[in-house]
């Protein structure tokens, strides 16, 4: 149970994470066709957007990342989804989550969401399981 100050800190951090828009939108009454086209733009289609170079990091996959990859492939092999559904689900996370999560955290997030969407697990079942694992880790086993 978070204390009121924990909640305040969480909400402040969430607010800080909201993308800083050049044009702030707040459910406008009407929008132009040009703005609608921009709003419809698929998140992963970044080619041609102005940006600055980022440092290249030659990093090996961690165990959880490889397990995430295999899990997603096995779900596809069992016919539960496919790679294009995963990419769509990643785009549908929205910019803050898409850019905020590590690459494979994005995968595991949308895999979990898809299992919930399809009714294969319930969201509280998953949350309870996460709490179980957290309790076990905090107990140091």
């Amino acid at each position: 149970m978070p204390s009121p100050s924990d909640l305040d800190a969480l909400q402040r951090q969430v607010r800080r994470l909201a993308p800083e828009p050049a044009a702030r939108l707040d459910s406008p009454y009407w929008i132009s066709n040009e703005l609608y086209a921009a709003l419809r733009h698929v998140l992963h289609d970044v080619g041609g957007q102005p940006d600055a170079p980022v440092a290249y990091e030659d990093k090996e996959e961690a165990d959880w990342e490889l397990r995430t990859y295999v899990l997603c492939e096995v779900l596809a092999w069992r016919g539960v989804w496919n790679a294009e559904m995963r990419r769509r689900a990643e785009n549908d996370l929205g910019e803050t989550l898409y850019l905020g999560l590590p690459y494979y955290a994005r995968w595991i997030t949308v895999a979990a969401k898809m299992l919930v969407d399809k009714g294969l697990i319930s969201v509280s079942e998953l949350a309870d399981r996460i709490d179980d694992v957290r309790a076990r880790m905090e107990a140091g086993s």
Partner: protein, 98 residues
Amino acid sequence: VRRFEIGDRVTVREATTLFHHRTQAYTRGRTGVVVEHRPEWLIPEDEAWQREDGRVEPFYVVRFRQRDLWPGYTGLELDTLETEVAEGWLVPATEVAQ
């Protein structure tokens, strides 16, 4: 039956896109050359929703000149970019090749 052969000049259609697709905005309305045939596959617009009646189309690798894609491109004239496009997004190029 494939509609385009290697070497054909093709233009990417400027069609409306909704929700999910793999046709980069910078290619739409641009003209390039088919340089490779790729296997038939479900088009992303259908595969992304796991449609049982998903449409299968031949794919092509299309080569564009960078200076045709980017206004004010300052690189070499011979610089190119290749990307994969489903047949339904392509029409025969009408303008005269330069």
